[in-house]
């Protein structure tokens, strides 16, 4: 009897958080899976059961696969562009640069602003007539390179990726700066005495010592890129002609623009499953490595 009252009084501490969490976060997950079996506009009481019809349609939907490939392109480009530049910046702000604290603070400004504000700012950078980029190019005599960056299907995805990298590089810079501060100075001094040049000690000592941080940053970049939505939504709406479509923008448009809630749910469940799969794989690899090392 005493045990039960102990349980209840402890459980009461958890209850409020648990109720809100179940209601808005956990229960919606199976609900989405359920909706994905129907043809439904979200409002009318008439839900037409399709079985796996939406799923079959999804696997035959070229626009969906385009958005999937774009997501993968985004992941790879993010890792390849963001991490090296972030490491370079981390080296800059960790060096004996005067005012390095101030540099770090100022570099971080884009990271804490909203994706909406960043997306709109980049719209003004890419705008064809008065945009910052085109006026810079014509200012230095490269008029032939000016173009409508976001309007060109071949360039739109790349242009959006540049904006994403610009916003997220300072984030990885901070991670690398913290890791660099953890490398003991004696190691570098010893390498220096042994005659290693700065470049040599960077590639032979710093990079190997940072390998765990680099892996963690890649994982963050990987899982984060499946969630990118607002910046792309504000900049291109996934256009032109789905050139910069991502799974998240496609899901939003299916559900809330054309009100195909069933099909939108199917895309949402797919995003969920992919994230889940990636997380499991990453955790597995991490555990295997921990076992191998331990």
């Amino acid at each position: 009897m005493k045990k039960r009252s102990e349980f209840l009084s402890a459980f009461l501490f958890v209850l409020p958080a648990l109720l809100v969490y179940l209601f808005y976060f956990i229960i919606p997950i199976p609900t989405s899976a359920y909706y994905s079996l129907f043809n439904w506009n979200g409002i009318s009481p008439d839900m037409q059961f399709l079985g796996f019809g939406n799923w079959i349609a999804l696997f035959n939907d070229p626009v969906f696969w385009k958005s999937f490939i774009n997501n993968i392109t985004l992941v790879i480009a993010s890792i390849l562009i963001q991490l090296p530049l972030a490491l370079l910046l981390a080296l800059l702000v960790s060096s004996r640069l005067k005012g390095n604290k101030l540099f770090k603070l100022l570099y971080f400004v884009p990271m804490m602003l909203s994706a909406v504000a960043i997306g709109m700012t980049w719209n003004f950078i890419y705008e064809p007539n008065y945009g910052l980029l085109n006026s810079l190019l014509s200012g230095v005599g490269l008029e032939s390179l000016t173009r409508g960056w976001l309007g060109d299907p071949n360039l739109a995805l790349g242009a959006v990726i540049v904006a994403i990298c610009w916003q997220y590089i300072p984030f990885y810079m901070v991670i690398f700066t913290a890791a660099l501060a953890g490398i003991p100075g004696e190691i570098m001094d010893a390498a220096h005495i042994d005659g290693a040049s700065k470049v040599q000690s960077f590639f032979l000592i710093t990079v190997p010592l940072l390998s765990n941080t680099i892996k963690m940053a890649s994982v963050l970049s990987l899982t984060g890129s499946l969630k990118y939505f607002a910046l792309i939504f504000v900049m291109t709406l996934g256009g032109p002609n789905h050139a910069s479509e991502l799974m998240a923008t496609y899901m939003y448009k299916q559900a809330f623009t054309t009100f195909r809630m069933g099909y939108g749910s199917t895309v949402a469940v797919f995003i969920f499953l992919i994230s889940f799969l990636l997380t499991v794989i990453v955790l597995r690899i991490g555990r295997r490595r921990a076992l191998a090392n331990g």
């Binding site: 402890a10 501490f13 958890v14 609900t31 003004f124 300072p170 901070v174």
Partner: protein, 281 residues
């Protein structure tokens, strides 16, 4: 001879470091300078003149136009939603973290993993059900519609950080109080919560930025103009002001000011909070 050679190499590296550091400073911040300098121009000057030039007459007319287009209302909406969500999130989150970390009861591990598992789940899976539920319970198009989802979505990281902090507080502190007849609630409120202030501050800073910047929930749950939080209002300014580019730029700058002030106050703590929150999440 060798030493002068060495010194000149050092100063070349130092020069390169400064050049790179200033180059990135321009890349990171010039876009904002561009916005400020053009937001101060009148429409005619903007379209006929050179975007690199400073305004001939510094005019605040665009800022006044934004301010009188309900801007204070949007600011209030954001502040209202963020402060209520944050207060409830911290209250429910810290109490749950106390229960999970300091009162070992049946299934407490299960609940802990249920919360923490949410950190890896993308928000999109819940959007449609949340939209439908919000309509059914009659909260659609109200600021209150945002508060439930905001509490729920930031609960995992909040619980995770607070549990790991509270787990490290020595048991003996509470045991003495129990002997003096204090209840669990009193221990939580008077002993554990005050000690947890550093963790609460970190979680609070992280969540305020994340909530303030959120766009997807207002996009899905709010439609009336007067109910918009700042991010949604800003996005809609693009359509409302159409080709009045300097005014949109003024809106952008105005929308950034609250966060920049917050950043100026919190500085490194904001950076650390954002990075720690993301790494753990």
């Amino acid at each position: 001879m060798a030493s002068t050679h060495f010194r000149s190499r050092i100063s070349i590296t130092r020069l390169a470091v400064y050049i790179l550091a200033i180059l990135w400073l321009l890349i990171a911040l010039y876009p904002f300078v561009f916005l400020v300098q053009n937001s101060l121009k009148r429409l005619m000057e903007f379209f006929t003149g050179n975007v690199w030039k400073l305004p001939e007459v510094f005019s605040l007319v665009n800022y006044i136009e934004v301010w009188t287009s309900n801007f204070p209302r949007f600011l209030f909406n954001s502040a209202f939603v963020v402060s209520i969500s944050l207060a409830l999130l911290l209250l429910a989150g810290s109490s749950a973290a106390y229960g999970l970390s300091r009162l070992k009861f049946r299934f407490s591990r299960v609940f802990y993993y249920l919360f923490v598992g949410g950190m890896t789940i993308p928000v999109h899976i819940t959007l449609i059900p949340v939209y439908i539920i919000t309509r059914r319970i009659g909260l659609y198009d109200s600021l209150w519609a945002l508060i439930g989802p905001y509490i729920a979505f930031n609960m995992p990281i909040t619980v995770f950080i607070l549990v790991s902090f509270m787990g490290g507080i020595p048991k003996s502190l509470e045991e003495a109080a129990y002997i003096d007849g204090s209840t669990k609630w009193q221990n939580f409120w008077h002993i554990v919560l005050p000690i947890s202030r550093p963790a609460m501050t970190a979680v609070g800073i992280y969540n305020s930025v994340i909530l303030w910047n959120d766009f997807i929930f207002p996009l899905v749950l709010i439609s009336a103009r007067t109910k918009r939080p700042l991010t949604l209002a800003l996005w809609n300014f693009q359509g409302e002001f159409g080709s009045d580019v300097p005014t949109i730029m003024a809106a952008l700058i105005l929308s950034m000011i609250p966060l920049l002030i917050f950043y100026a106050v919190t500085r490194e703590r904001l950076i650390e909070g954002l990075v720690a929150g993301a790494i753990k999440g």
